[in-house]
């Protein structure tokens, strides 16, 4: 059967082109791979090859013709035994237009409810009443969380710089090499991009890696593997495979370590679909969220804080204590203002609430604990009660976590607001080294107190 040769699209954006030159004439036989014509696109002159064998029966578009639309028949190819007389002037077979099925807006997941009814939130306590509590540092709680999961599941392993023989650069993995051996507690070379990729591949292959970055500043070397490989593969594979794993390590400012070692990445990772992001404050949350993170079938970014590592908190003495993702904790109830924070930001939020209480201002303090998923329901519910909100974080102001929270409040509880939301953040500068400047660059309790007074008009 005679087949029409159509004007080809030769770039992702080409809609028409010039048929610059024919390299075959009527009557010529061609086989697959032979160059038949030169076609000028908007970008270049391309050679156009035959994909079938046959004889050129008729040339329909003369060389030199400009503005030939893609899919216009430009020649007719005959099979063995056909003659040019067999050619019928058939209508060109247009490429089936892709169904424009886009009008159905898939807004199911994100559309805010128009009627601002108080959202349903989960306010069950993290542990049952009467549970024995013990004092533990964040460091110990984090190690216990990892070790418990490694006892439970042989496919969980820890890799990173200095995690094994050195016992952890910040001593988080103290004792783990002894208990689990060198097969499961693995010292890596200083090669973040490479070992993040190897761990992601191991997760594709059925293991549950925990990757320790000595700090998240160094994870910038590895961010392509974290985002392009770990976060996107489930989607790109149509659900066939993904990366159940945890990337963890200290994040944000420590003390006097300068601009390259002091960045808070909460807002960066929170933006990425496919990742989950935890940024706990208390020791019980470090433990409970770490256990949940290891069991989660998705890549989890677990943002820790060096300054918090040595702080002690109550931790429930339970065999298998976990904290769910997407459930905020209300640390203190109040009626005049809602202060929302997470991670080390909570220390400023709680200190400010104490100070404000002395001045007769009652602050409700919410610890988000996880940023993705984020328990925006608890924020909205609280703002409906207090009508005012201040957010607190150490990261930079532009595109901050607080900016996102403000936008959610504006969309879902606009009518309840008695004042604009204020975002207390780190200053819009690289972290300075000098002690006095570093203090100025970070968010402070005084700034949180001042922001609360501003939104409460006190």
């Amino acid at each position: 059967m005679a087949t029409e040769i159509l004007m080809p699209a030769l770039s992702p954006t080409m809609e028409e082109g010039t048929l610059a030159k024919w390299l075959v004439k009527e009557g010529d036989t061609v086989s697959s791979g032979d160059i038949m014509a030169e076609i000028e696109t908007d970008k270049a002159t391309m050679e156009f090859e035959a994909v079938d064998e046959g004889t050129i029966g008729k040339i329909l578009v003369a060389e030199g013709t400009e503005g030939v639309k893609v899919n216009t028949p430009i020649a007719v190819l005959l099979e063995d035994g056909e003659s040019a007389d067999d050619i019928k002037t058939a209508a060109p077979e247009a490429a089936p237009a892709a169904d424009a099925g886009n009008e159905a807006a898939p807004a199911a997941s994100e559309a805010p409810a128009p009627a601002p009814a108080a959202p349903q939130t989960d306010s069950t306590p993290d542990w049952p009443e009467g549970t024995t509590l013990k004092q533990q540092t964040v460091r110990e709680a984090l190690r216990d969380g990892m070790a418990e999961e490694m006892r439970r599941d042989d496919s969980v392993f820890l890799m990173g710089e200095e995690v094994a023989e050195y016992q952890g650069a910040y001593k988080i993995s103290q004792g783990m090499l002894d208990e689990f051996g060198a097969k499961r507690v693995i010292d890596t070379p200083i090669t973040e991009h490479g070992f993040a990729g190897i761990a992601t591949g191991a997760a594709f292959g059925g293991l549950r890696p925990i990757v320790e970055f000595m700090t998240f500043n160094f994870a910038m070397q590895a961010i392509d593997q974290i985002i392009n490989s770990a976060a996107k593969t489930l989607y790109m594979s149509g659900g066939q495979m993904g990366a159940p794993m945890v990337f963890r390590g200290p994040n944000g400012a420590a003390a006097r370590v300068g601009a390259q070692h002091s960045q808070d990445y909460a807002a960066w990772y929170m933006q990425v679909p496919g990742l989950k992001v935890a940024m706990p404050y208390s020791a019980s949350d470090y433990k409970g969220l770490m256990k949940t993170a290891i069991r989660d079938p998705n890549p989890v970014i677990f943002l820790e804080n060096e300054i918090l590592y040595g702080r002690s908190f109550d931790v429930p003495d339970l065999d298998d204590y976990t904290v769910p993702f997407g459930k905020a904790r209300i640390w203190r109830e109040g009626s005049d203002v809602t202060i929302v924070s997470f991670g080390i930001g909570m220390s400023y939020a709680l200190a400010a609430a104490d100070q404000l209480a002395e001045e007769g201002i009652s602050a409700e303090v919410i610890d988000l604990r996880t940023l993705r998923p984020m328990d925006t329901g608890s924020i909205i519910k609280s703002v409906m009660k207090t009508n005012r909100c201040v957010t607190v974080e150490e990261g930079w102001p532009q595109g901050s976590v607080g900016n996102y929270i403000s936008s959610v409040i504006m969309q879902e509880a606009f009518d309840y607001l008695d004042a604009p939301v204020i975002n207390c953040t780190g200053k819009d500068v690289p972290m300075p080294y000098a002690a006095n400047l570093e203090k100025l660059a970070l968010v402070t309790t005084d700034e949180v107190v001042a922001a609360v007074k501003q939104v409460t008009y006190k």
């Binding site: 159509l6 004007m7 080809p8 699209a9 030769l10 770039s11 992702p12 697959s32 791979g33 696109t41 970008k43 270049a44 002159t45 050679e47 090859e49 994909v51 893609v70 899919n71 490429a95 089936p96 169904d99 099925g101 886009n102 898939p106 199911a108 997941s109 392993f157 890596t188 070379p189 090669t191 991009h193 490479g194 070992f195 990729g197 190897i198 992601t200 591949g201 191991a202 594709f204 292959g205 059925g206 293991l207 549950r208 593997q225 490989s229 593969t233 489930l234 989607y235 790109m236 594979s237 149509g238 659900g239 066939q240 495979m241 993904g242 159940p244 496919g274 989950k276 079938p297 998705n298």
Partner: protein, 336 residues
């Protein structure tokens, strides 16, 4: 060292030789059809064809065992067909349809098959190299005796993460065959203009990784080298590098006019070194197959490819709900 050539009397049966002919021809015809569908606007975006490089994947698949893994870059159609993935599913992914391997959500560069142990389909040059080492890490951890073929190009060989992966693969003796598909052009820049070493596999020496160059237009040479590399990995001796000297006939992607080389250079390669013609001539001169036998294979392939194109045109676009699925897993995908 001269690239490995196949031994004079290849130790393969007529049936095996015919199978390689068939598998290479399937890739060639499939890619030609993909180019045609791209020209019709049915395939969008980037599309990187494998024409000319067929002997690399077909030779190495002949050296693989059930359960071995493979991972590659965005020039991935040949790898998928060679490991037994369904041409219909591959072509329908190219057209972005529901029947594609990733339900149309991955595209030409991003396809996967748990069943065939094919781990993608990766769009960032060289990112698949540490990932491949990681798959091998998982196999070593599980002590299952499997080997991973990690494919990358001569262009990717200049990315830093390749050497991060080499270092750890050697340090931890990971069962990984690093396959450098040297098609001589990193996009539009020749090896000579982009790569300090003439023999890329020799870079493995500084990590203690053995390797060799192989004539990638000779499927039997590739198979032979593959068997040696696989045996090395499977015996617990760590990674192995194969630098397979090959050639792509088409541009880097569909929109590349390939002006960085002469038409004569390409034609000479087609005329003198074509991997499919070489096997065809072995089959005919050795009287392992007649012209009729080969015609029958050609016909069978044509039917498979036409059917895949038909499937890829008629499979519906993914349902709009698919926009919001597969972002988070609710349970751990079990390894096949």
């Amino acid at each position: 060292m001269a690239p490995r050539k196949s031994t004079k009397k290849p130790n393969v049966s007529a049936e095996e030789l015919k199978a390689y002919y068939r598998d290479m021809l399937l890739i060639r015809r499939f890619e030609e059809k993909a180019g045609q569908l791209y020209g019709m606007g049915l395939i969008g975006g980037f599309c990187h064809l494998y024409i000319g490089q067929e002997a690399v994947v077909v030779g190495l698949e002949a050296a693989a065992e059930e359960g071995d893994k493979r991972i590659t870059s965005y020039r991935d159609h040949g790898h998928m067909l060679a490991c037994g993935m369904d041409p219909n599913g591959v072509m329908a992914e190219l057209t972005g349809r529901e029947g594609g391997y990733s339900k149309g959500k991955g595209g030409s560069m991003h396809m996967f098959s748990k069943e065939k142990h094919f781990y993608g389909g990766h769009g960032i040059v060289a990112a698949q190299v540490p990932l491949g080492a990681g798959l091998a890490f998982a196999d070593k951890y599980k002590e299952n005796g499997r080997v991973t073929f990690t494919y990358f190009g001569d262009g990717a060989a200049n990315q830093g993460q390749v050497y991060e992966a080499f270092n750890m693969a050697a340090l931890w003796k990971l069962p990984c065959v690093f396959v450098i598909e040297n098609n001589q052009y990193a996009m539009g820049t020749s090896q000579q203009r982009s790569t300090s070493s003439a023999e890329i596999y020799e870079r493995g020496k500084s990590f203690g990784i053995p390797g060799e160059a192989v004539d990638g237009m000779d499927v039997l040479a590739v198979k032979e080298a593959g068997e040696k590399a696989v045996a090395h990995c499977r015996s617990g001796d760590g990674p192995y590098i194969l630098e397979i000297k090959t050639y792509r006939y088409r541009g880097h992607s569909m929109s590349d006019p390939a002006k960085y080389r002469t038409r004569e250079e390409v034609q000479k390669m087609r005329d003198e070194r074509d991997p499919i013609e070489q096997v065809r001539s072995l089959l005919l001169t050795g009287k392992h197959a007649s012209e009729e036998d080969l015609k029958a294979i050609d016909k069978e392939i044509k039917e498979i490819v036409n059917e895949s194109a038909e499937f890829a045109k008629t499979s519906p676009e993914p349902a709009v709900e698919e926009l919001w699925t597969d972002i988070y897993a609710t349970e751990v995908p079990q390894e096949a």
